[in-house]
Every structure is written in C-alpha cells, then in structure tokens.
C-alpha cells in the first residue's frame, strides 16, 4: 500500500463526497453467508458523528472528482479549480474491508464525478461492488449512486450488488435545473430511478413465489434536494418530495441546506449562512407526512407556501385548525392523538396501551414523555384542570414561545436584546 498516495486521495475524495447527506445504513437484511465478512444491521448503526453532528456510518467517497459537467451548485464542477484525483478499484476495496474489519463503518457509499460518459462511470461503480461481494465475500452495506443517464442493464446489475441506490435530483424544480445545471436533463435523473423502482417491485413480487430470488437493492432508493439555492418555496420542495415518494417509492428524500461553494451570481454568495433551521422544518414536515398521517396540502398550500420558522409545522397546522381541539386523550383515536402538538408517535403508542388500564391525567402524560408546554392547549384528560379560556391562535403561540426555548431561537427572534 502506497500510504501517502492513498492518504492524499482519501482526503480529496472524501472531502468532495461530504455534501451527500444520506448516511443511512438501515433497511437491509443481508446476512453473513459462509462465514464471510459482515452483515447488514436492520436498524443501521452510526459508528461516529462528524463535528457538525451528522452521522458517519459508511465510508462515503467519490471514485473520482473528475467531471464533465458544470453544475453551478457542485464543488467538483468542471470549471472549479480544485485538486483532482481518482481511486483504483482495488484501492476502494482495500480501504472498505480494512475499515470494516476495525468496526469503523457499516459499509461503503460510493459516488463519483462523471468521467467520459454516464455508463462508463456507472460500470466502474458496479465493478467495485461486485468485487466486494464476490471476491471478498463482503456482506456489509453498499450504497451506490445511480449516475444520471446510466443504462437500464447497468442499473439492474448495480441493484444486485448494492443495498441502496440513489440519484440526487438536487434542484427541486425543472426551471431551476435549467438555470443551474444546463448540461443535465430532468429525464436523465428519472430514468435510472424508474428502472430501480420497477426492479424493486419485481423483486418483491417474485420473492413471494420464489424465496431464492436474488436480492435487488433491499434498502430501497433515495434522493436528495438542495434547499435554498434556487429561490424555491417550501411548497415547491415538499410537493416535489411527495411526488418522488409516490411515483418512485423512495425510501427517503433528503433535504440539504445549500453550503455555498462557488462565486456565481445565480447562487447565494460564499459565506452566507447555511439554512439549517429551514432544513430542520422540512425534515419535520417530511416526518409528518410519512408517519403522522398528514397530507402535504394540509401543511403547505397556496396560502401558506412556506413553513413557519418560529414554531414547528405540526403546531403551526394546529393553530390554523383550532376547531379540531381540544382532543380528549382518553377517548380519541390514534390518528387524532398523533395530531396534538407535543405528542409524538412513541407517546401515542404508550398512551393507547396505558389508557386501557386507567384514565390518564397530567402526571401520567408527563411521565410518558408528552411535551405538555405545547400539548396542554390542545387536549383534555382526566383532570379538572384544562385550558378553559377561549384563546385565539396568536395568543396560544405567544404563550408557548414564552414558556419554551429553542436552539434556533436567536436566528428568528425579533425581540431586541438590551445590550447589543
């Protein structure tokens, strides 16, 4: 091993890959066969966390950062003056295996800049995965990037070796894509997505009949969108996320606050703040859609094209729809319980199980873990004390904000501080 050379390449190519937010290592059920190396943990394991608090579960690198495209938002775009490097296939395999054996990682996340043409690049990615699976008997997690424009045959082969495939749509609107990545066509992104989705559906149906059908991307596929680069609204983002969830059966859509990497008049300037709060609100909305039974048009509509920054989307929905409340926690069904601000899905489950034994009061709910500072205005329980005043939405919001503190509060507080 030429240690110094590998070290230099790793630094360049890990640095270039870091803007991909997905680090999921969950959802796959690959087991260790024939006393080989590794297996996939169904719930996923985060082996470490970066200093910005994101999980590290996979060795996330680019095969190369040479690229023929010139997308404005991307750090490895053709016109950017950065050091370029490329790994050999064997080098990636060795790094993965040695990191894995030391319990540093759950597996490999391999992406790449596009050199020559899409298929040539995709072929290389598949070759790495194939080598790991067949020569090293490696059963850990492999996440491959589907290169936009790759052929169906290669996408099929990729899914046989990988657990997870993803294409980053990056820009949520087609008009934005034209502006920021003029070389790429929307269809280039959706073509591999569609192929992967069809293959997953095929695999799931065939599996029911023939147990030994070879696995096809058991952890599904995902995509990612940049937030705050092309002036899109939250509504644009969430509606297009919903579209990808529905049409391509995405496991996840990731939202990535744009980190300025280029001096380009089409984009926010270098040094402008990363929209982390907005990103957080989008993830909250995503969760409401996937786990809480909300429909996207309940949260975002023409009248409310953007999410509130000062309160979470569920509270904001509740304040706009006060006529649903107060809800009786001892009687309401699951769907309605999940809509009370301050009650999460874990609390919902606990409440439903506990209320079979006795009627619940404030004390019980507090111990179960309900955030009463928000929930108290929207519910009644087995107690004589509940909010009887007929408060309007503004008043409730004010009272909640007064009695709580949030980590992002200083970013949107319009209260003047005294000594500044």
């Amino acid at each position: 091993m030429d240690f110094d050379r590998i070290r230099e390449k790793l630094n360049i190519l890990a640095d270039a890959a870091k803007y991909d937010v997905s680090c999921a290592s969950s959802g796959s059920d690959r087991t260790n066969t024939n006393k080989g190396l590794g297996n996939a943990s169904h719930m996923g394991i985060c082996h470490s966390y970066t200093e910005d608090g994101r999980c590290i579960s996979l060795l996330k690198i680019l095969l190369t950062n040479h690229c023929i495209f010139d997308c404005a938002y991307c750090v490895t775009r053709k016109s950017n003056d950065v050091k370029r490097a490329a790994f050999k296939i064997q080098e990636v395999v060795d790094l993965t295996i040695n990191f894995y054996r030391r319990n540093y990682i759950e597996g490999l996340f391999l992406s790449s800049g596009i050199f020559k043409i899409a298929d040539y690049t995709m072929e290389r990615l598949v070759a790495v995965a194939k080598k790991l699976r067949e020569e090293e008997n490696f059963n850990g997690y492999i996440h491959l990037k589907s290169i936009p424009g790759a052929s169906d045959e290669l996408m099929y082969e990729a899914g046989l070796y990988a657990d997870h495939l993803s294409v980053n749509i990056e820009v949520p609107t087609i008009s934005g894509l034209k502006l920021l990545a003029p070389d790429k066509k929307h269809e280039d992104f959706t073509k591999p997505m569609l192929k992967v989705k069809n293959e997953i559906v095929r695999f799931q149906t065939e599996r029911k009949i023939i147990k030994s059908t070879p696995k096809y991307a058991p952890a599904g596929q995902s995509t990612q969108m940049i937030v705050g680069a092309s002036g899109e609204t939250d509504k644009d983002i969430m509606y297009s996320a919903t579209y990808y969830y529905k049409t391509y059966q995405m496991k996840r859509v990731y939202y990535s606050g744009y980190v300025p990497v280029a001096d380009d008049t089409r984009l926010p300037a270098i040094g402008s703040q990363v929209p982390m709060l907005r990103e957080n609100r989008l993830y909250q909305t995503d969760w409401l859609l996937r786990f809480y039974g909300f429909a996207v048009n309940e949260i975002l509509s023409k009248e409310h094209p953007n999410l509130d920054m000062d309160v979470d989307p569920k509270l904001s929905w509740a304040l706009r729809n006060l006529y649903h409340f107060p809800v009786d926690v001892n009687a309401a069904d699951k769907r309605l319980l999940a809509r009370i601000p301050g009650i999460g899905m874990q609390s919902v489950e606990k409440i439903i199980k506990a209320r079979k034994f006795r009627r619940l009061n404030w004390d019980h709910l507090k111990k179960i873990g309900v955030a009463l500072n928000r929930a108290q205005y929207f519910m009644v329980c087995d107690s004589r004390h509940w909010e009887r005043r007929d408060l309007d939405a503004e008043k409730i919001k004010g009272m909640i904000l007064q009695t709580s503190s949030g980590k992002f509060r200083n970013q949107y507080s319009n209260q003047l501080s005294l000594f500044n």
Partner: protein
C-alpha cells in the same frame, strides 16, 4: 403475620432468577433481593442465601417468556443495568406480570412498569452504542482487539452481533471496568479474563503489540473523519450529544493529534 425475608444471591442473572423461583415456590414475603457482598440487613427481616440452580432459573425464564417475549428481554436488559435496587423492582414487575392472564402488561401509567421499560431502553441504547463505538486494533497475533468501558454490563448482549458480523476474523472485546472480555476463536465466543498490562485507549504512543499497518489505518480513518465534516455547519453541542465525552478515550478518530 409472615415475617419478611431478604434473599441474598450471587450476582448472576441465573442466581437472581433462582431467587425469584424460591420466593414464589416457598411463598416468601420478600423484603429485598440483594447481591452477595452488598447486603444490608433490614431491622425486622431474616436473610436467606440462595444457591444458583440453573434448572430453577430456566423455569422462571420460560415462565416469563411464555407470558411475553417483550417482558423477558425487558427483565434481562434491566437486570444488566446493575442499578441499585433493580432486583426488587424486577421482582415486583414479575409478580405483576404473572398475575395477568395474557401477559400483555403494558400499563405505562404504573410506576414500576414504566421504570423497568425505561431502564431496559437505557441498557438497549448502551448496547447499540457499543456496537457502534468498539474500535478494533489488529495485534501482531492477528487478533482484532478492543477495550471498552460501558456504563452497563452489555458484553453478553453484544456478543451475538459481533459473532455474526465478524465470522472470519479472531476478535476480543475486553471490558476494562468489569474486568472480563469475550473472545471469538473463529468457532465460538468464550468469556475470558486477562491480565492486561496496559489499557489500549487511543493514545498517541504506539504500542508494540500492534502492527505498524494498524497505525496507518488509524491515520487514514482520522483523516477521513476530519475531511467528511462540513466546517460551515459545525455544531459541537450536537456532536457531544451523539458521541458523549466519556467514550472518546477509546475512539481512534478522537485521538489528539
């Protein structure tokens, strides 16, 4: 009135289950269940020493498992928390569980039930953390070696995970705090106790027990850890929340350099 008795057991899980068996079998009015060597006598209670009996323990295990799979794992996990007084709480929990018809005893408004399930969750979290934070170092005898210092006694819980995953390499995970380890010899996992001359945490000084290649990979991993972070999003509070400082000592990526 039935005089109450304090049961003394040997500290093992089987010992505890035997104590539960004896208490049920002899209809003892239990004042407390304490581990050998930590007992404090109550003023008005007798003591009885319990001798671990695997058959009896097994009957209790199967009895709880027959009621609910969830309950048996809750009991085992909560026991491994080594919390003071957990034995008596578990005894109450088992009593309550056995009284139910279906075993679906999930009354989270009951203090004991909620507490046991929270303890079990805590231990479960520590187990998960150890599956993540173990850092193997390759020794010259070709054994992947790791030191850990978990909050709870989770070695018995993580052994299956590592056995399944690293089936083709010899590995040893040693709990520095509890002074025992688990060793996989390419066939099965066994418990070992070592006479460690030094604890191998992530110090800069290179030990001659390890290959030089080992330190190369640690350097690469450290580099990777650094270059994968995004500077403009730095958030030390969130970082330490996910990776609490007490674990840093054994994480090679947190090595001061």
């Amino acid at each position: 009135m039935n005089a109450s008795t304090t049961l003394i057991y040997d500290g093992s899980f089987n010992g505890f289950l035997t104590a539960v068996f004896v208490a049920f079998d002899e209809k003892i009015n239990v004042a407390d269940i304490q581990r050998n060597g930590q007992c404090q006598n109550g003023l008005f209670s007798d003591t009885e020493t319990i001798f671990t009996h695997v058959e009896k323990a097994k009957r209790v295990w199967n009895g709880i498992k027959g009621k609910s799979h969830n309950a048996i794992s809750n009991v085992y996990f909560a026991f491994l928390s080594e919390t003071e007084g957990v034995e008596m709480m578990l005894y109450t929990y088992i009593q309550k569980l056995m009284r139910t018809q279906t075993g679906k005893y999930l009354d989270y408004s009951d203090g004991t039930v909620l507490h046991i399930s929270q303890l079990a969750r805590k231990v479960g979290r520590e187990k998960h953390r150890m599956e993540a934070f173990v850092r193997f170092q390759l020794t010259k005898d070709n054994i992947y070696f790791a030191n850990i210092e978990p909050d709870f006694d989770v070695l018995p819980l993580i052994s299956k995970h590592f056995r399944d995953r690293y089936a083709d390499q010899q590995w040893l995970i040693y709990d520095v705090k509890r002074k025992y380890g688990i060793y996989y010899n390419l066939d099965h996992v066994e418990m070992v106790s070592l006479n460690l001359r030094e604890v191998h945490f992530n110090k800069i000084h290179k030990s001659d027990a390890f290959l030089s290649e080992e330190y190369d990979y640690q350097t690469l991993w450290n580099d990777y850890f650094k270059s994968t972070g995004i500077k403009s999003r730095i958030n030390p509070k969130l970082h330490t929340q996910h990776v609490p400082k007490r674990y840093w000592k054994y994480l090679s990526e947190k090595k001061a350099s």
